[in-house]
């Protein structure tokens, strides 16, 4: 469980997060949605401590991360898995070395045991026979999946994904979404996913936070989202002709 209390963040005087209060639950895929520039990435990076917040508090299972010493933060971070918007794979390392990285750093397993684990998570994201390729030698979608494999290699308690399926075709996108949801439920982890993809929203949105220009506009789930009563959210949800057609068919 990750709890945000009145989280605020500004860059040189310009407020990007204007007081976020929300609880992200364990064993569920929690989504942060909103238009491009609404503050999703900044919020996610604030949660994991890559941005220091200006005000408020963030708690990981009741542990106050915001006012924690760096040394203790590092311990909690070993329970994190993060998929960056751009993948952030180590480009001088092969796929296998990327996924094995945290195992090398934080476990004393033998190479065979580590390799077993690497192959297991790679298979989990449907990647086989790519162990010895470099990130530049695989497609964008494959890079995303390697990033997910790397994030879950150490069995994280908290998983963060910044637009895991942007740039992917809808079908591969859904495969990745479902994968994230399965992992979340299987290992009972707290997952937060940034997305502006309506497919993801309707597919895996157990809990949804809608950001509008840095403000917390609406919180709910995928079943409530079509009747939120928020004008801004309706504009976001029914932005495309496709969604508008579906809506009119329902009525």
């Amino acid at each position: 469980m990750i709890e945000l209390r009145n989280v605020r963040k500004a860059f040189s005087g310009r407020e990007v997060l204007k007081g976020i209060n929300v609880t992200f639950e364990k064993g569920k895929t929690n989504l942060i949605i909103g238009q491009s520039g609404s503050g999703k990435t900044v919020l996610l990076k604030s949660i994991i401590g890559l941005h220091e917040i200006d005000d408020g508090q963030i708690l990981f299972d009741n542990r106050d991360f915001t006012h924690m010493r760096n040394r203790d933060r590092k311990k909690i971070r070993q329970e994190f898995g993060m998929v960056f918007q751009g993948g952030a794979l180590f480009d001088s390392a092969t796929v296998e070395e990327n996924v094995m990285f945290s195992l090398n750093m934080f476990t004393d397993k033998t190479y065979e045991e580590k390799l077993d684990r690497v192959n297991f998570v790679l298979k989990r994201v449907n990647l086989v026979n790519v162990n010895h390729l470099y990130p530049s030698e695989i497609s964008g979608g494959m890079q995303k999946r390697v990033a997910i494999a790397r994030a879950i290699a150490l069995n994280p308690r908290y998983l963060f994904c910044d637009e895991p399926n942007s740039g992917l075709d809808p079908k591969t996108g859904i495969v990745i979404d479902n994968l994230i949801r399965e992992i979340t439920e299987e290992y009972n982890i707290t997952t937060i996913v940034n997305t502006h993809d309506m497919n993801s929203v309707t597919e895996i949105g157990d809990k949804i936070l809608y950001l509008y220009l840095g403000e917390q506009n609406w919180v709910g789930n995928k079943d409530e989202i079509f009747s939120s009563g928020s004008e801004q959210l309706d504009n976001f949800v029914f932005a495309t002709t496709l969604m508008r057609r579906i809506k009119s068919n329902f009525k």
Binding site: L50, K74, R77, F84, Q85, A88, L89, F90, F101, N104
Partner: protein, 247 residues
């Protein structure tokens, strides 16, 4: 004022870099890799410039000696002392600042702008230490060998030039390079090399580590890393010389 902020940030980065390593075996492996990348890969360039500089110093010294009263062995002596005192430490240092420094700044800078450093931090890894510490240690370890290589190759280059051009006999040259040899000069040269190794790795690493933006800024950081490490090398050259050679 800006200089002060730079100095403060650099100092903080070094404090992070020299924090206790999180896992010795991994740091050891990284250091070996860096020795290969920063040291072994530089042997070629150090070899080539040293041979030619040794040759040129020898020929120039010889052709400038017009007074028949000055003994010819001074040519060998000059070549030797120039290599030991200045060339193999300072000039090689400047050249490595260009080669190794730009490499380090752009590697770390690229990792910064593509969020690879953030990814390390999020895993709970001390990214500064993981990325920079092995480079500094590797350079401090391997650069003295490059220095020695440069001295030998430079002096040998001088000999080849002297003999093959007929400017000087082997006997005169050999007598010169043995004449009034001061072992302390080697110590002085080594001290400089180690200090320069630290500058060449840590200063570009600093510029790479704090890059903001994209590929363009990485390029700028790389240039800055080279320029500032070169300036610092020249500055410390004077300081160390004053400390170690002043009578």
């Amino acid at each position: 004022m800006k200089l002060l902020t730079h100095f403060g940030r650099y100092y903080m980065l070094m404090a992070k870099t020299f924090a206790k390593p999180q896992k010795n075996s991994i740091y050891f492996k990284q250091t070996i890799k860096e020795i290969d990348k920063l040291g072994i890969n530089s042997i070629g360039i150090v070899f080539i410039i040293s041979v030619f500089m040794g040759a040129v110093i020898t020929l120039q010294t010889r052709y400038n000696l017009e007074n028949p009263l000055i003994p010819l062995y001074l040519v060998g002596l000059t070549a030797r002392d120039t290599m030991i005192l200045e060339f193999s430490s300072t000039i090689v240092g400047l050249i490595l600042a260009g080669k190794v420094g730009s490499n380090i700044a752009s590697e770390i800078g690229t990792m910064r702008v593509t969020e690879q450093i953030d990814a390390l931090e999020i895993m709970g890894i001390n990214s500064a230490s993981y990325l920079i510490f092995p480079k500094i240690i590797a350079a401090i370890f391997i650069n003295p060998f490059l220095n020695i290589l440069s001295m030998f190759v430079g002096i040998a280059g001088g000999w080849v030039a002297a003999v093959s051009s007929g400017a000087l006999s082997t006997a005169d040259y050999l007598y010169g390079i043995h004449y009034a040899f001061i072992p302390y000069y080697i110590v002085y040269s080594m001290v400089k090399t180690v200090v320069f190794a630290f500058i060449i790795t840590s200063v570009p690493a600093y510029h790479g580590f704090y890059v903001k933006g994209g590929a363009l800024e990485v390029g700028k950081a790389s240039t800055k890393g080279v320029v500032y490490s070169s300036i610092l090398i020249l500055l410390f050259n004077v300081i160390i010389t004053q400390l170690m050679l002043a009578k």
